[in-house]
């Protein structure tokens, strides 16, 4: 039976009234659950472990569809760099399995759980893919979309279908994995996903430049990412944030961070070369070794600096990397309460502010407008997310096209209704 397992009490956010809750354990049950819901016009909220319910607009639903029982790695072939797992498989289980064979998910998915008040390390692989997550390695290694090879899913029509494959080079038919990645559960419920995996680096080292202002940090990142030294992370933390880091050595000044990964001879060589290159910045450079470096990039990846009460509203601005510093400054001039940092060499600006009537949507969208970039409201109280566009509004022809695409998968609008709307 589709009984609620474990100790979670199924409710909708902000309410403690239990709602119908379905927990399919295989594809047949998943297909039946969605087909039934369609027949009854019952709207479903899709959950893995529910760590990212705060992402997107609050869903309008009559029942919960819990995918956490679609669980387990069904194929892992390290030599072929491929892994298949049930969508409900916890990410940390997959990462542990890969680590045993010296491999990893190259896109370094962030753990958003704590940002939305859930415990860490609860995310499922299906949720990671559905939200197209990525971490600091994004500019070099891509996002979930770039490593997502194939899937089996059930559409909002209540029909199972598959797309993609288990091989990394495939152009047979439309690249539906790209579409499902980042669709936030509004097109189909993923049952099983196949990902390409990657060897983990032997060694990691981070260079931290102390005390640059944001403009010069932007320049330093452009230099580092434009050279041949394969920087796999480039971020800027203002002084305000370095003091929140567990890496105490960084406190007291801003930090511009460059991560280098690879075999040890290569990392040592590139670290020296990059240090020489960045000497013209005329600031002290600190070297952070493996463990400390890993700790720091986890903080950067998971927004650990922006988890306090005063960071009620969090925006994610995706901009051309060379413009990140400028966009951040512009926002700070307008909103003195805003705190920010840069990742992706400037291409990703995280901004946190106390709550505000429009969640500062107008200011954020103005700030990205001229750059051609996009602003997404990553965290805000439910009522605010109902009010403002969480995702960047699309031009009319594109919005109409996106809506037609959605309707082709879920004509009745029963899957995560309203989440992306």
């Amino acid at each position: 039976m589709f009984m609620a397992g474990g100790c979670r009490i199924p409710t909708f956010p902000g309410s403690d009234v239990p709602v119908p809750h379905f927990q399919p354990t295989d594809l047949d049950q998943l297909e039946a659950a969605i087909a039934d819901a369609g027949a009854d016009r019952r709207r479903l909220e899709l959950l893995g472990n529910g760590t990212k319910r705060g992402l997107g607009k609050p869903v309008e639903a009559d029942a919960l569809l819990d995918l956490s029982r679609l669980h387990g790695v069904t194929l892992y072939e390290p030599e072929e760099l491929v892994l298949t797992a049930g969508a409900g498989t916890p990410l940390h289980e997959i990462e542990a399995l890969l680590a045993q064979r010296g491999q990893m998910l190259a896109f370094e998915p962030m753990d958003l759980g704590p940002l939305y008040g859930a415990p860490p390390r609860q995310a499922t692989i299906g949720g990671v893919v559905a939200c197209n997550l990525a971490g600091p390695r994004r500019p070099k290694a891509g996002a979930a979309r770039d490593w997502f090879l194939g899937f089996t899913a059930v559409s909002g029509r209540g029909e199972r279908f598959k797309a993609g494959s288990r091989v990394m080079k495939n152009v047979t038919g439309y690249d539906l994995p790209k579409l499902l990645a980042g669709s936030h559960g509004t097109l189909a419920a993923l049952a099983e996903v196949t990902l390409r995996v990657h060897p983990a680096p032997d060694e990691t080292l981070t260079l931290a430049l102390a005390g640059l202002d944001v403009d010069r940090a932007g320049q330093a990142m452009a230099v580092a990412l434009g050279c041949a030294h394969e920087v796999s992370g480039a971020a800027y933390l203002p002084a305000q944030l370095t003091q929140l880091s567990a890496v105490e050595r960084l406190a007291g000044a801003s930090a511009t961070l460059f991560r280098l990964e690879g075999i040890s001879a290569s990392v040592a060589y590139r670290a020296q070369a990059l240090e020489d290159l960045l000497r013209e910045m005329q600031v002290p450079v600190v070297r952070l070794e493996a463990d400390v470096s890993a700790r720091l990039w986890r903080e950067v990846r998971d927004l650990e600096f922006l988890q306090s009460e005063r960071d009620a509203v969090i925006w994610r601005l995706a901009v051309p990397p060379a413009l990140g510093a400028q966009v951040a400054q512009r926002i700070q001039r307008q909103l003195s309460s805003a705190r920010f940092y840069l990742d992706w060499g400037g291409g990703l600006v995280w901004v946190a502010t106390p709550t505000a009537p429009d969640a500062h949507a107008a200011a954020m969208r103005r700030a990205v407008h001229e750059t051609g970039g996009h602003a997404t409201l990553m965290r805000a109280p439910d009522d605010l997310r109902r009010l403002v566009s969480v995702f960047q509004p699309e031009a009319a022809p594109l919005a109409a096209l996106s809506e037609r695409v959605r309707a082709g998968f879920d004509p009745l609008g029963i899957l995560n209704s309203g989440r992306m709307g």
């Binding site: 369609g38 091989v167 060897p199 060379a322 997404t376 096209l401 998968f409 004509p411």
Partner: protein
């Protein structure tokens, strides 16, 4: 190959349509004379030919929009064309369709080194992008062997690869943004110079959509800094099995080479005869393994790969000592297609992908099929990512040989799917593999893909007859079926 039945009513109006288009476009953008249209009768898959009803050569997005808007209003089919190097018949004209040639979109619009991006019109060749940024030390990573000729718009439409995509990805992983015109003439922009926009990833969907969703009129790609060094290893093996084994072990050891190519004995011989690259002629299989990056890394990894190769029973191992030698190693591989062209009047290039470890079984089966069909086959293989290019040798003038070659090819592709692989790794479905789609996908999988097509092009006017074996009407695809008045799986517990 069955193409959609030409629309006689449209054909009858050809002159009128040409006149209308001349009013919408500059006079030299509409081509009506038969000998001028002939130029476009086939793409790289020369076995298929057809004369387009009309050819248009627009120069601007507004002109493309005018053409598509007109065709949309009048129910006229469109076939987009870049440089015409497709190996799957993607740009094969339709007798009752307007071919939209994108060759005049030939300008690089912006080189933005700060953001490591190039904005180009779709008719610019793949190589021209690299050439434009070479002086500054950058390059565009995807490098199909056809890169001197193929257009970046065609690369987007086919999601093209190259010998370096194991490490650097396919077109889709190197693309930042697009402008495209929809069939009703509306213009949309997807992505930009930033990453991961939010909203549905239509950029990812349009990439590899084979001209079925709209016409791409501007492309933004990311460029990378040239690695400090690149060196290649040339390794001979006594068997395909030992070579295949070596590939798996290199990857399992944690090394992702920039390129890892394999050739079998017939391909080695053809290439060596053609370009004298210094290939070991006694070898049954040859691997070219390229490593790039900083000097000390490349030096260390060359040693490591050589040691692995040795332990796999390599009979010869040579590391390139300088750039000239590295290029010589590649010369044979890069000329493999024309080299095979010299030893046979015609050849038919296949493009399946398999899980790598299935290689020995695949090659064995291919040898068996080669005997069965009485046709020779040479293999070049993007070994790192499992993408096979069997080249079937035949003579189009010998009665029945083309059909035999096609049947042989279809068997190879069925086998690829049977061992867990796919029909096409980088050349696209086009008309060539259209009727094999059912081998890999069931009715429902295909129906869902076609619903996506319907969202872009409900009238089915963009490049029809390609990719999908049967064309369903969008209204029919949109209908929700309650199965015989009952729901599926009545035996399962309900809400």
């Amino acid at each position: 190959m069955q193409m959609p039945e030409p629309d006689r009513a449209v054909l009858a109006r050809r002159r009128e349509i040409a006149a209308d288009l001349r009013r919408l476009l500059p006079p030299d953008a509409v081509i009506e004379a038969e000998e001028a249209r002939r130029v476009y009768e086939s793409d790289g898959l020369t076995a298929y030919r057809g004369l387009p009803m009309l050819v248009t050569l627009p120069r601007t997005t507004a002109e493309v929009s005018a053409i598509l808007g007109y065709c949309h209003r009048h129910g006229i089919k469109i076939v987009p064309r870049g440089a015409g190097t497709s190996l799957s018949g993607g740009a094969l004209p339709l007798e009752d369709g307007i071919l939209v040639g994108m060759a005049r979109f030939n300008r690089i619009l912006e080189i933005d080194l700060d953001n490591r991006a190039v904005v180009a019109q779709p008719g610019v060749t793949n190589l021209a992008i690299t050439e434009a940024v070479k002086g500054a030390g950058f390059y565009y990573a995807p490098d199909p062997s056809s890169q001197i000729a193929c257009s970046i718009g065609g690369n987007v439409a086919e999601n093209s690869g190259g010998v370096h995509c194991l490490k650097y990805g396919l077109t889709t992983n190197n693309l930042l943004g697009l402008e495209m015109v929809l069939i009703d003439g509306q213009v949309i922009r997807l992505g930009g110079k930033h990453l991961d926009s939010g909203g549905y990833d239509l950029l990812g969907i349009v990439t590899g959509s084979e001209g079925l969703l709209g016409i791409v009129t501007e492309v933004t790609v990311r460029i990378l800094r040239r690695p400090e060094t690149a060196r290649a290893l040339l390794v001979g093996f006594p068997s395909n099995i030992s070579a295949g084994n070596c590939v798996g072990q290199v990857i399992a050891s944690g090394i992702i080479p920039a390129g890892m190519e394999m050739m079998d004995r017939p391909a080695i011989r053809a290439a060596e005869d053609f370009v004298q690259a210094g290939y070991p002629l006694e070898a049954e299989a040859l691997l070219i393994v390229e490593l790039d990056g900083p000097e000390p890394e490349v030096a260390a990894l060359i040693g490591k790969v050589a040691a692995i190769a040795e332990s796999c029973g390599a009979t010869s191992i040579t590391a390139s000592r300088d750039e000239a030698e590295r290029l010589r190693f590649w010369a044979g591989r890069k000329a493999a297609f024309p080299a095979v062209g010299r030893i046979s009047p015609d050849y038919y290039c296949m493009d399946g992908t398999i899980p790598r470890r299935e290689l020995p079984r695949m090659l064995e089966e291919m040898a068996r099929l080669s005997e069965k069909y009485g046709l020779r086959v040479a293999n070049v293989f993007h070994a790192g990512d499992g993408n096979l290019h069997p080249l079937i040798l035949y003579d189009a003038n010998a009665p029945g040989e083309l059909e035999r070659a096609e049947a042989f090819g279809a068997d190879i592709l069925r086998l690829c799917v049977a061992v867990g692989g796919v029909l096409t790794g980088e050349h696209g479905v086009g008309v060539e593999k259209r009727d094999l789609m059912g081998v890999m996908f069931d009715e429902r999988d295909l129906a869902q893909q076609q619903r996506l097509k319907c969202a872009f092009d409900a009238g089915g006017l963009m490049n029809p007859g390609k990719m999908f074996p049967t064309l369903h009407r969008c209204a029919e695809l949109g209908r929700l079926h309650v199965h015989g008045g009952r729901l599926p799986h009545p035996d399962l517990p309900r809400f």
